[in-house]
């Protein structure tokens, strides 16, 4: 348990959290390993966990009929995967698949969400920290949509027709 707490302490997401919070969160965590090809999350399945990726590559994917899996982004060492545990209906919105051997800390979001309900201070603290990750991902997605490396100018509503 102490090991997990120490691991979390070194991560930016948990930086400067009070010792008691870290102990509590660490208590909801366990080390896990996924082999290449294994799914960490499946779209629409209950999102009861989130992950701190310690090592390895994870593909965040969606499934397109007649096409197959489409990778939206890859996550790497130090990345956090999963915020669906924090928002209703608590289901994954995408698939996550290990592209190679992945070592991660799996945190029990279901348990934490209960603790957050009981302790709004902790809830707000975690909400702020996750909101930051969500914002960063949103900004990255917008940049990806801009298609900045294209030789064509970005399309506007008028030029898109």
């Amino acid at each position: 348990m102490r090991g997990i707490q120490q691991l979390l302490q070194q991560h930016a997401l948990f930086q400067d959290l009070p010792e008691a919070d870290l102990t509590l969160i660490g208590g909801c965590g366990e080390n896990c390993v996924y082999n290449a090809g294994e799914y960490i999350a499946r779209e629409n399945a209950p999102a009861d966990f989130f992950y701190v990726i310690r090592e390895g590559r994870v593909a965040v994917e969606t499934y397109m009929p007649n096409h197959g899996a489409l990778c939206l982004q890859t996550l790497h060492d130090g990345d956090i995967f999963g915020w669906s545990w924090l928002f209703p209906p608590y289901r994954w919105t995408f698939d996550a698949r290990a592209l190679e051997k992945v070592r991660a800390v799996r945190l029990d979001g279901k348990c934490l969400r209960q603790k957050c309900e009981e302790d709004p201070r902790l809830g707000f603290e975690l909400m702020k920290r996750f909101a930051r990750i969500v914002t960063e991902r949103l900004q990255a997605t917008r940049l990806q949509l801009l298609d900045v490396y294209s030789s064509e100018r970005p399309r506007t509503a008028e030029t898109r027709q």
Binding site: A59, C71, E136, Q139, Q144, Y149
Partner: protein, 268 residues
């Protein structure tokens, strides 16, 4: 102001619409010396003249350029084959400040075609010059098929820390999928000692600068290449005037500290 006649010695199609050419002068004497970050004005007869960066330093009297089809002139240049001739004026402009590299933690950040003017830097580093304390190359592109110098990048990654990221790919691609700001944001940077060379589409550079500043990198440690349209390339016509600067002679490589007020003005 008069272009010299050059001939295409070799031509490689990097991916459809983008090629790299090695050119040398028809007259004796070889090409003039150039430095990384400078550019030539390439003249496609009957079409016109455009600025194109040095994308390799040969040191054998030839120039290397990577050309992407954008419009009329670049299309005409791209159409040229080995043995064809073109006009060349140059080299022009201020290049990358290689004299600042020794002992620094160098971050080379390239987006899309922005890899072209940065390639001579990496080639020089690979050849052991400039002696930085460490080097990290971040290279973002649209798709794996649209990465420049793919075989070379692979070679570089054996000697340097190279992070490649593409906007779209299938999972067979071994690099990252996403945008360049993410690995840049995750990089460990020694803010006291970092030096950044950045080139890519302006919007990409803007976001990268935001990430770098948020990490605490000083504005004077960031250099970027501004690829604004120009005509004369020698500071006469004013076509490329940007604030008090002429991109052609004061740039194209600028220190971010010096151009920050102009970089953030939308209409400029």
């Amino acid at each position: 102001m008069t272009p010299a006649i050059y001939r295409i010695d070799s031509r490689v199609e990097e991916f459809p619409g983008t090629c790299t050419v090695r050119i040398s002068p028809e007259s004796a004497g070889g090409a003039r010396r150039c430095s990384a970050g400078q550019f030539n004005m390439l003249y496609a007869f009957g079409a016109g003249e455009v600025p194109i960066s040095m994308s390799g330093l040969q040191g054998d009297g030839s120039y290397v350029h990577t050309i992407r089809i954008q419009g009329l002139v670049t299309r005409a240049l791209h159409r040229l084959n080995e043995g064809d001739s073109l006009g060349v004026r140059g080299p022009f402009g201020c290049g990358w400040p290689m004299d600042k590299v020794a002992g620094r933690q160098l971050l080379v950040v390239a987006g899309g075609l922005g890899m072209a003017p940065l390639r001579p830097i990496v080639q020089a580093l690979m050849a052991g010059s400039a002696r930085p304390a460490s080097v990290q190359l971040f290279y973002g592109a649209r798709r794996p098929q649209e990465m420049l110098y793919a075989a070379e990048v692979e070679q570089w990654s054996r000697a340097l820390k190279v992070v490649t990221t593409v906007d779209h790919a299938d999972t067979g691609w071994p690099g990252q999928i996403g945008v360049i700001t993410k690995p840049l944001g995750a990089a460990s940077v020694d803010i006291e000692n970092a030096l950044v060379f950045l080139c890519g589409p302006e919007v990409m550079m803007r976001f990268c600068i935001q990430v770098l500043l948020a990490k605490g990198v000083a504005t004077e440690a960031i250099y970027l290449s501004m690829e604004r349209n120009m005509k004369c390339a020698i500071g006469h016509c004013g076509h490329c005037q940007w604030g008090p600067n002429f991109v052609c002679k004061d740039g194209p490589v600028f220190c971010y500290r010096d151009i920050r007020p102009w970089f953030d003005i939308r209409a400029l």
